[in-house]
Subunit: 192 residues, 2 copies
């Protein structure tokens, strides 16, 4: 999501990426010295300050980069963009939670949580399908980027869930958004 | 956090609160129909739209309510407020995760995760201690509200962690922020 925004705003070349591993149960001291939440993305600014989370970083990039604003300045357009971003961020969050739950030793997995996560996946992707008509009418913005990030990540990690089945509008949206140069440049080929 | 902002902005009386239970492993269908993330807070607007998460709701309340803006409009002041909010939101998130991890049957708990969460708590509260000097110089805003919400919640759920020990500046900040009428009006007396 951050690197898509960086490409959209002409800033990708100015950001040095550092391969870093974090996981909920594996604190990374180098990250925690900058971001006590032990999470990525964390962006170190030229003045040494670390900023996070992704929402703060992308709003900052949007404010300093070139091209059309991804965050509408005010009013209902902004509210809709922020709401859509929050929905998609929430989906990314629970997809990550799902991965870490399944990475636990089997005896430590919660069957109830796994069932709940599967239901959340279905319900959230149905909600995203319903977002498409208004989303395609609105100017491209942070909501589109974040929903695109969800769809790209779902293809990468949750292909088995076959989210396109029964969600034709979302599938068509994915076709368009994932073919943008910013998404092409940031495909998950070397990501983890 | 949302109700503190509502009080700060003169909007508390306009918000009807609905007692609602959600948990990661317990999908609440009434909530999921509005917010597929199955999370609180979720705010239903007069036009029937549901908005979430807390960050989106508080920015909206700040834009429509009375009184001084809690979100600086732009520049470094805004970035600092958003960064501080993200830090504090992240602390609230992992405090909730910690609760749900400890609520699992013992065999399903991850000892590594519990150790990591304890370390995160210590590291994050140390980081909050270091925030105090700049935070007290800045005008009261969303960062202050969210850090205040963290401290009130830590007193409510994590009193045993004795976060005030060795963190005199944060303790003094709590004294001030938690005595604001907005915090007094939203103490955890009837919360869960």
């Amino acid at each position: 999501k951050v690197m898509v925004v960086a490409h959209e705003k002409g800033l990708a070349e100015k950001i040095e990426r550092v391969r870093t591993l974090v996981a909920p149960a594996k604190p990374n001291p180098d990250v925690m010295a900058l971001n006590p939440l032990n999470k990525l993305p964390t962006l170190i600014l030229d003045d040494g300050r670390a900023i996070y989370d992704s929402r703060v970083i992308v709003e900052h990039l949007d404010s300093i980069g070139a091209g059309a604003k991804l965050f509408p300045v005010s009013g209902d357009e902004r509210l809709e963009g922020l709401r859509r971003q929050a929905l998609a961020d929430g989906v990314l969050d629970f997809m990550l939670l799902w991965l870490s739950e399944r990475a636990r030793p089997e005896a430590q997995q919660s069957p109830e949580l796994l069932v709940a996560l599967k239901l959340k996946f279905k319900t959230a992707f149905d909600a995203l399908e319903r977002e498409v008509p208004t989303m395609t009418k609105a100017p491209f913005g942070i909501g589109h980027v974040t929903v695109g990030a969800v769809l790209g990540y779902a293809d990468f990690r949750y292909a088995k869930e076959a989210w396109r089945d029964g969600r034709p509008q979302l599938a068509a949206f994915a076709e368009t958004v994932l073919s943008r140069p910013s998404f092409k440049a940031t495909e998950h080929v070397d990501a983890y």
